[in-house]
């Protein structure tokens, strides 16, 4: 029983259970949900779609995990997605023949640079000026979409440069290309945080910044780079979003993404109070959100009404993670047992 106890108490456990439950539910109630077919050498099916469409949120969730681990929050990521998409679209240009204005790689690097700068701005406000994270990133959340609109001159830019489409629409070895990007970023982040002391530093800062500083950790720099990294992740997500639809819409690109990303992190077991973080948990969290969305659609619920289910899941999930709630339930059980 002790292994069960330790497993069921691990923070990633509930996320896995939820994901498994969702998949099992779909196995029984959604016809063809699990079917993956091969067409034109690509894998097709709901499961592949979940991976493919979940990629931007997964990327954001990776960056957000580290931010939340330092007891911070970055609500600007959705706007940074729009900024990155706008920047890359402007740099590639809407040439109908598909000739990019600047080489595509240069354009992508430019967009990522802008996103990193956005992240640095957040990091500076939080770590150097000492603003509250939610407010510091609120600045860019509010202004960011305006900046994106300035880039594209308030137009929706359509792109025709074919090679750029690979990012969001391409397939490699049967799998969507963007999944490899997520895998790569996840691997690098994992190695960098878990195979070096950086992960521990981040957790230390999240648990007690003052204590972390007294034990010789440069808390300010850790915080600064964590936000910068979140900006980079948002930038990459922005490239994928733009490439998927070959369009940059400063108004709607990345809309509500910040909320999904935060949700993914929390579902994955990382506490909003900072401290221990679970990168893999956040990825699972993003998958839960995406699976939930697909499930809801499969049941013919209008896309716009889907958030209702999302909300109920979030409430149920945060309750399960609340120590107070667990205690209440446990007490209710015990009382029942004594009475019996």
């Amino acid at each position: 029983m002790s292994w069960w106890k330790s497993l069921s108490r691990s923070n990633i456990f509930w996320a896995l259970v939820a994901l498994a439950a969702l998949l099992v539910f779909n196995l029984f109630f959604t016809p063809n949900f699990m079917r993956v077919t091969i067409r034109e050498g690509h894998l097709y099916g709901n499961l592949i779609d979940i991976l493919k469409n979940g990629a931007p949120i997964m990327l954001l969730a990776i960056g957000m995990t580290l931010v939340i681990a330092t007891k911070g929050i970055d609500i600007s990521v959705g706007s940074v997605v729009a900024i990155s998409a706008g920047a890359v679209a402007v740099l590639i240009g809407g040439d109908l023949a598909g000739n990019p204005k600047y080489p595509i790689l240069v354009a992508m690097a430019g967009a990522l640079l802008v996103s990193v700068l956005a992240g640095m701005w957040n990091g500076m406000l939080v770590s150097r000026i000492g603003m509250q994270p939610i407010i510091a990133t609120l600045v860019l959340f509010v202004a960011g979409r305006g900046v994106a609109m300035l880039f594209t001159n308030s137009l929706q830019l359509w792109l025709y440069a074919k090679p750029f489409a690979i990012l969001g629409q391409g397939y490699v070895l049967g799998f969507p290309f963007d999944i490899y990007i997520v895998g790569f970023i996840l691997l690098v982040t994992y190695l960098f945080t878990r195979r070096t002391a950086v992960g521990m530093f981040i957790e230390a800062v999240g648990i007690n910044p003052t204590a972390a500083r007294f034990s010789g950790i440069n808390a300010r720099n850790i915080i600064f780079w964590v936000y910068t990294f979140s900006g980079l992740c948002a930038g990459i997500a922005g490239l994928i979003v733009c490439s998927t639809v070959m369009n940059a819409d400063g108004n709607n690109a990345g809309r509500l993404f910040e909320l999904d990303a935060i949700l993914a992190v929390v579902l994955g077991g990382t506490s909003m109070n900072g401290g221990k973080f679970y990168l893999l948990g956040s990825i699972i969290g993003a998958l839960i959100i995406q699976t939930l969305t697909v499930t809801i659609y499969a049941f013919g619920v209008p896309a716009d009404a889907a958030p209702v289910v999302k909300a109920l899941v979030v409430w149920a999930f945060s309750l399960m993670q609340s120590p107070r709630f667990r205690l209440t339930i446990a007490q209710a059980f015990n009382r029942g047992r004594v009475a019996a």
Binding site: I129, L138, G146, L259, I262, A305, P323
Partner: protein
């Protein structure tokens, strides 16, 4: 003590100064800008934002946050339109139903936050999703409001000075502001809200009804959001699921510009009103200017939030330095303080 109070209200006076400068600049630059009506328009065009912001001020003073208000506004508009137009209920019934619905949702979220110690950010985020989704369950498309009472109220003009008028929605907003100010300053509930924001632990030790008050705060915010939804329906004469999206953050921004500290414990309803005025004036200026696109509003608001937070940080660090003047001076750059 008196100096301390002035110190705390300084951000509010800065906002007041900013508002006067902005309104003055507009009056000099654009003919027809300076008029009583243009000032009253700030109330008319931002009536729903004012109501939301009053509720939000209470939440933020208590150290919490409510992200659901924009969606609850949309939901109450949607339910109002549905009940009036498709169920053909009397407005006398619809209004209390909608207000009760918003309050109940707020109380429920407050209950989750208080009883199970869940983070307000997450609970109200889910509230945002829930209300937004429910809008589309009520109806997928816009419902136009043609109920004669609502239409009459929407077009009604209450003359204040000469031909300058206020709309009924604006009057509701003004009443909410006045009641909000009174409650925050002169009632047990209001003082408890400040105490919770200052230090929840101390508030509990002082024997204040912390649990009850915290739940009530979110109920109040839900009530304000529902009321704002009714006023918004009057303003647009329709219910639509996309209404008020992003308004929660606009509301938070105006509260911050008004000088309320996000760390809780410090805030002022009149400051919030000034924050809404500044927000509204920026929009009016951009409309009068004509060539700037409306996206500059977002950038300007973002910039103002930045400036005001900078200001708040400045005051805080000054206060901290004044407090620690002694042998135990904090080392330079005392770490990044996190909320």
């Amino acid at each position: 003590m008196k100096r301390m109070a002035g110190f705390r209200n300084l951000p509010m006076f800065v906002t007041l100064g900013l508002f006067i400068v902005m309104f003055g600049t507009g009056s000099i630059a654009f003919p027809g800008f300076f008029s009583v009506q243009n000032f009253l328009n700030l109330f008319i065009d931002n009536s729903f934002l004012l109501i939301l912001a009053v509720g939000m001020t209470f939440v933020i003073i208590s150290g919490g946050i409510d992200l659901s208000v924009g969606s609850v506004l949309a939901l109450s508009g949607m339910v109002t339109a549905k009940l009036l137009e498709q169920v053909h209920m009397s407005p006398l019934l619809v209004i209390p139903i909608v207000l009760a619905m918003g309050t109940a949702l707020g109380l429920f979220m407050g209950y989750l936050i208080q009883t199970f110690e869940l983070p307000p950010f997450i609970v109200t985020l889910a509230g945002l999703y829930l209300a937004r989704g429910l809008c589309y369950i009520v109806n997928l498309f816009t419902i136009a409001v043609t109920n004669p009472y609502f239409v009459a109220a929407a077009h009604a003009q209450v003359f204040i000075i000469g031909t300058s008028f206020l709309s009924p929605g604006a009057i509701v907003a003004i009443v909410v502001v006045l009641v909000g100010f009174f409650v925050s300053r002169y009632t047990k509930f209001g003082r408890t809200v400040f105490a919770i924001g200052g230090s929840e632990q101390s508030a509990i030790l002082m024997g204040l009804p912390v649990a009850r008050t915290k739940i009530a705060i979110y109920g109040l915010s839900g009530f304000c959001a529902a009321l704002a939804g009714l006023v918004f329906t009057l303003y647009t004469l329709s219910g639509y699921g996309l209404n008020g999206s992003g308004m929660e953050l606009d509301t938070i921004a105006t509260v911050v510009i008004g000088g309320t500290l996000l760390t809780g414990g410090v805030g002022n309803i009149f400051g919030t009103v000034l924050g809404v005025f500044v927000y509204g004036t920026i929009q009016t200026l951009i409309v009068f200017q004509g060539t700037l696109n409306s996206w500059w509003t977002r950038i300007a608001i973002g910039f103002l939030v930045f400036v005001f937070c900078l200001l708040q940080r400045l005051f805080e660090s000054r206060k901290a330095r004044a407090a620690v003047r002694g042998p135990l001076t904090q080392p330079a750059g005392a770490g990044a303080s996190q909320g």
